[in-house]
Symmetry: C2
Subunit: 203 residues, 2 copies
């Protein structure tokens, strides 16, 4: 049985950026297949009474996150620039990602969107911004943006977010395994990959 | 200038247990001096409106923390047993630790207290429990417990907790450096040590 991991991410999430930039190479090295699963944190935060990111609700935690992100990006040699406002509304981005992930360039799109937002500090919250990211990948924006606003994709994003919630996903990034483990945070990527690998070998 | 790190920990904090068990060997290897600084998270949580641990307030986060702790302890080959209730009242433990840290066996006491609580699942919230930990280290409990309840130690713990808050400490464990960096969480111990080392070398 092939080792595999589900990668749950939210486009507005800072640490999802780090995980998105790291996961492909690490998973390949370990021989673990990765399913990219964008979802929305907003409804999940709302269910526990939060109207915005906990990094805004709890200022000391927020200050630390931005500084930690700067330091982590420097260690990983990833560029970093803070988007304004934070968090960005990621609804359209997530819908486009779901449509894109049906295509061979889907994961490239997701990485490019994270980079536009967190490496360049650009907004990702409207059709022009998301269209720019598509155009840079030489993808014609209009058909993808139209597909992303279809009822089918809207329903898939709702279902995916509900599935995340059902699995106990409460933040991002989160990695889940077929045998029911859940790993939270960019710094749990390596243990999650080790777990997925070992679990597959033991079956 | 010698590299150094302040290690801020709360006895009721699960990830402080992991950091307390790891920090001595890792810091020695790097040549970084560590100041052990017990404090109380309770007043800091209260200041942001929390009456108990966020792991109790946010159940999905709490469930993940316990499972993550089991997995992390297994990877680190540390025993783990969940104390009941959680969090334990750590006021007396922190006062005793402050008194103990004036003695050569202070750090041993702190590790032994963490182990009693998280390796054996014992309570640490009264004089008998804390006295047991002292007795196991062949320290006569009564004089230490009496010193811990002195006005001087009570004032020092209040001052230390206020200093933590002033530095932006919002959780535990947290590592702070002389040049103003703050690293949150057991999994930031290694980057904190690297930072302290590099900062000292560059001065």
């Amino acid at each position: 049985m092939r080792a595999s991991l589900d990668f749950w991410y939210e486009f507005a999430s800072t640490y999802s950026y780090l995980a998105a930039m790291r996961i492909e190479a690490l998973a390949r090295e370990k021989g673990v297949g990765v399913a990219w699963r964008p979802f929305l944190l907003g409804p999940i935060f709302k269910a526990q009474g939060w109207e915005t990111s906990p990094f805004n609700l709890f200022p000391a935690k927020g200050r630390n996150m931005w500084r930690d992100l700067e330091r982590s990006c420097a260690e990983l040699k990833l560029p970093f620039r803070r988007p304004d406002p934070f968090p960005q509304n990621s609804l359209l981005a997530a819908r486009v990602a779901l449509a894109a992930l049906d295509q061979p360039w889907g994961e490239d799109f997701c990485r490019a969107l994270f980079c536009a937002q967190f490496a360049e500090g650009r907004r990702i919250d409207d059709a022009a911004a998301v269209g720019d990211v598509l155009a840079r990948l030489k993808i014609e924006p209009q058909p993808v943006l139209a597909a992303a606003q279809s009822d089918a994709i809207k329903a898939r994003l709702r279902a995916q977010t509900e599935e995340a919630q059902r699995l106990g996903v409460f933040g991002a990034p989160i990695f889940t395994t077929a045998d029911g483990e859940l790993f939270w945070g960019n710094d749990r990527l390596e243990p999650a990959l080790r777990w997925a690998k070992t679990a597959a070998e033991c079956r």
